[in-house]
Amino acid sequence: MIVMHIDVNSAFLSWTAAYEQQQGIDRDIRKVASVIGGNEQNRHGIVLARSILAKKFKIQTGMSLMEARRQCPNLLVVPPDYQVYVRASKTLREYLYKFTPDVEVFSIDECFLRFTDLNKEEALSLACKIKEDVKNIFGYTINIGISKNKLLAKMAGNFEKPDKCHTCFPEEIKEKLWPLPVEDLFMVGRKTKVKLNRWGIYTIGDLAKTDPNLLFKSIGVYGHMIYAYANGIDGSIFKASPPIKSVGNSSTLKFDVIDTEIAHAIILSLVEMTAWRLREAEMMCKVVSVGIKDKDFNYISRQKKLPYFTDCTKDIYKNICALFDKNWDSRPIRQLGVSVSGLEFAKFQQLSMLKDKNLLKNEKLDKVIDSIREKYGDTAVIRGIFANSELSPILGGYPDDEYPGMSSIL
């Protein structure tokens, strides 16, 4: 079996750059110090992607734009265009299905391909062809990592960027994986790095040769997991479609919210985007959830299972509000999040008698609104509640979907 990991190089930045070139805009944001970043007027102003030159200025993804500008005063900041990204991601996936039906989506710009009928040489030459084709057809570069399992393929994909194909087969681990710093290993974060360094573990090789029982004693099952990863062992199964497990949006608010009505309005704006993306994916959901973080950073999240599948904004909104009302303790809110899961392709959806009578009408309305928004922009149609208010009608949009594999298990 061969597994390939496909990763778009600085996805948001590459996609915006390619889009700008298609529009005939006379600049290439890939060639200057630039970042894709949100609106600076509110707390959303963070770096979502950076160019290679911006990286040289030590600009990190997730850093505030203010901080990024401090590192590089001439930094070019370009706002994100999620519609472009969702389409780019979707077309790339559709293209990859030409080579194998086994495509597992890992995030908006990463996926795994599985092949059962290729040897190593064939795999490498196919990967090079895919990489070149994507560049020629779609206008951006990708990295492809090739191995026998997802973990090693993902590690290989990270070796050297951009526009490269790498292999990391089990027999190459010693030479290619072990010399790397331990924090380069999948699932080893900054905190773990500090701990491991304290124990004298600096490279992936050091970790691979540690006594797993000692790791288990100090950091539990997680210790076993990263020990296995360091040795190139990944017991996970390949999960081809449905690609998305949940869709959600959350937003840090410009002010602390203490009022139910405002909270509902924010929920509506989050649901608008979430439901739109759900419909874009041609899926419906059965579970809705809400997450509330108060100003002291206490966080709760609650979910509710519906007796039917839906992709209707109003329906999702109504249920999430009910959930919110039941669980909010009136403490000032700093951050609100909504998400939907229990997804199923819309075409498999059964009509249920439990849906309320207005629902079918609302579904039609949503589809009309979606098409107007796509044509004239997100703010073309604003629900009455937002007119003349300070709240932005569609909040979020950052792809924080919990894709399979974003969790600790590949």
Binding site: W15, A18, Q22, G24, I25, V84, R87, A88, G139, Y140
Partner: protein, 84 residues
Amino acid sequence: MKILNEPIKVMVIFHPNKGLESGKIEPVKFRLEDQVVRIQKIQKIYEENIIGNKRIVFVCQHNGKDIYELKYETDSKTWYLFKK
């Protein structure tokens, strides 16, 4: 040639899916400022699919020498004068 990427009004023949010109899209003339530009000859047709945004590209000739590049964006159903 200059890149404009300007949305324009175009008169187009959409050929039906049968016969010699099956499925062909044929721009006939378009409006540029106050002038109507008649397309004499289509030199080349091809598709581009940058980041999945499909555009059909028509390299057109006018007056025997002027070259215009028109693009039809399928998602937005919009015609652009891309280059002239």
